[in-house]
């Protein structure tokens, strides 16, 4: 058998025994403890011992969704950061890039995810959707068309939906904090 051990002795920097903490777990610890979030975003851990499942509440202080309080669930699996976190909106909201089931159209959550991105980038990306809703990548087609056709009307729909009104037969959830 090849004498690997002798090669090991020649390397000064060889690591000592590593902890049993998984790479995904350490990476999540690093991402979470280094979050740099503005006052408009807060995380909540239903079980503080479970770092892999939590919610993020976004309360935009500007733009059309100002005054609302939007809650997203984050679920991270053991293949993080090879795979992105799974993020869903927990409320029924009127937004061109969020469908009525809570699916979110954000490129870095799917096709443009890379392991160099982190939880902070995802959260900042989500907040951006409330500042600049994007009609080019619609998940809620009605909302997107309204945004293109008549911005004023779209804005009034947003305001009404946030107060829990019914728009075109869809009952939205009151998100006014």
């Amino acid at each position: 058998m090849l004498k690997i051990w002798s090669m090991k002795k020649n390397e000064d920097a060889v690591a000592k025994k590593k902890p049993k903490t998984s790479a995904a777990q350490i990476r999540v610890q690093k991402d979470l403890t280094e979050l740099d979030l503005p006052d408009t975003m807060k995380t909540h851990f239903p079980d503080p011992n479970d770092l892999l499942n939590f919610t993020l509440t976004i309360t935009p202080d500007d733009g059309m969704y100002k005054g609302g309080s939007f809650v997203f669930s984050f679920a991270i699996n053991t293949n993080y950061p090879h795979e992105p976190p799974k993020v869903k909106c927990t409320q029924t909201i009127y937004h061109p890039n969020v469908d009525l089931e809570g699916n979110v159209c954000l490129n870095i959550l799917r096709e443009d995810w890379k392991p160099v991105l982190n939880l902070n980038s995802v959260m900042v990306g989500l907040q951006y959707l409330f500042l600049e809703p994007n009609a080019d990548d619609p998940l809620n087609k009605d909302a997107a068309q309204e945004l293109i056709k008549n911005r004023e009307h779209f804005l009034s729909n947003v305001k009404q939906s946030m107060r829990g009104y019914n728009i075109k037969g869809v009952q939205y959830q009151n998100v006014m904090g």
Binding site: K16, K17, L32, T33, L37, E101, V104
Partner: protein, 424 residues
């Protein structure tokens, strides 16, 4: 006639040409002769992970080069679609565990070889199990399983025990492409070091799937990503359940019809949701052969081994390239720093944090600490800071056993620092 367990004259005539005399470039540690033959054939214990496309080839190659104590792990059963390339299996074996059928086939075909199968997951086994082997070869199709075995073998390396370092040979194929690599845990670049070299899994923008499908794959993703959770709620999709695949197929086919898209089939549906890449038998043969040659060279020291990454690209003619992938200092598995720290059993968490900040050689700011099972102190987010703040005044010895590990992360560290705590 029963298979003989005795070796016969000249059984290993060709292999012995290599083991009986050193060549000009053999490793200086190589001692030609009976001892190395005895090690290979009587003592060396090798573990094969995966008994699929690569695994079948690997098992046959190892048995025929003279490895006699082979173990194999696989969690799958044989599917009819495997039979075109997984040549240890026959139609009668469909539905039976791959590991068990493969082991029996090899033992029947190659006298004197013992193949010990385990039908289950690699995660079922502990360090004691992996410690019994001299070498590990992987023929896997999953990133997650590779990350797990890589981290396990790196973690097993004990500075006091040379036997704890198990070379890992990893093979992988995707269509006409493949790679073989040798990982010497903690010595050379590990699987996690190269994670960013992986092709990212194909994913389509969710808005395309929802609104403007153009490909059959878009329709299938629509069925699995959007329709399944909408219709079934929290019920988990099982991609190994034919009924689930059929449901997805029907949904996808209906949508494809609405959008006048052709090409949605049952097998494409299964391929897309299971992320199946077409397997080519001959690519598997090349990569498995390369892995087994490395196993033979490492087990016998009879020739220079692969340092450390061989890639094969058969999509445009034949191109191959071998290079040394470098170890990463910020690798979460094998990189980072490790430090032994001896503190008083009276030291509080707060005092330990101050000690860390004061340490000149690590230059740490605002460290967050955890054990493998619990958080000790997190600087952020606010809720976790508040939840862990009461620990600051506790003694470290109440939270961490002697020789226990603490994982420290901080913006000022490339990845993490692991502390091994002893008490005075």
């Amino acid at each position: 006639m029963p298979a003989t367990t005795q070796d016969w004259d000249e059984r290993y005539y060709h292999v012995d040409q290599i083991l009986e005399k050193p060549g000009p470039r053999t490793d200086p540690g190589f001692l030609a002769g009976d001892e190395v033959k005895e090690f290979l054939r009587e003592k060396c214990k090798i573990l094969v992970i995966g008994a699929g496309g690569l695994g079948c080839e690997i098992l046959a190659n190892l048995a025929l080069t003279g490895f006699k104590d082979i173990h194999v792990i696989d969690m799958d059963t044989i599917d009819i679609s495997n039979l075109n390339r997984q040549f240890l299996f026959r139609p009668k074996d469909v539905g039976n565990p791959k590991a068990i059928v493969a082991a029996e086939f090899i033992m029947n075909r190659v006298p004197g070889v013992t193949v010990t199968p385990y039908y289950g997951k690699i995660q079922d086994k502990d360090d004691d199990y992996y410690m019994q082997f001299n070498l590990v070869i992987c023929g896997l199709d999953s990133v997650e399983a590779r990350r797990w075995i890589n981290a396990t073998l790196v973690n097993m390396v004990d500075p006091e025990n040379p036997e704890s370092l198990k070379p890992l040979i990893d093979g992988g194929t995707e269509g006409f492409k493949g790679q073989a690599r040798v990982i010497l845990p903690t010595v050379s670049s590990c699987y996690e070091c190269s994670l960013d070299m992986l092709n990212k899994p194909t994913a389509f923008p969710i808005c395309t799937i929802a609104n403007t499908p153009r490909l059959p794959e878009h329709c299938i993703e629509w069925a699995s990503v959007l329709e399944w959770p909408r219709v079934h709620g929290d019920k988990k999709m099982d991609t190994d359940d034919p009924e689930h695949i059929s449901w997805l197929y029907n949904q996808a086919a209906a949508r494809a019809k609405d959008f006048k898209i052709e090409g949605v089939t049952w097998s494409l549906t299964q391929g897309v949701v299971k992320n199946i890449i077409p397997a080519i038998a001959s690519t598997n043969a090349i990569i498995a052969a390369s892995c087994c040659n490395e196993a033979f060279k490492i087990a016998t020291s009879s020739a220079a081994y692969l340092n450390n990454y061989f890639m094969l690209i058969g999509t445009d003619g034949v191109y191959s390239y071998t290079f040394e992938h470098e170890k990463r200092d910020d690798c979460p598995v094998c990189g980072g720093e490790a430090l032994d720290m001896s503190i008083s059993s009276e030291t509080t968490v707060e005092q330990l944090i101050e000690l860390l900040i004061e340490k000149q050689d690590i230059q740490i700011k605002k460290p967050s600490l955890s054990t493998p099972t619990a958080q000790i102190y997190f600087q952020a987010p606010p809720q976790l800071e508040a939840a862990t703040r009461p620990n600051l005044t506790k003694k470290v010895s109440e939270l961490v056993p002697a020789d226990g590990e603490i994982t420290v992360t901080s913006t000022s560290l490339p990845f993490s620092l692991s502390l091994r705590i002893s008490y005075t």
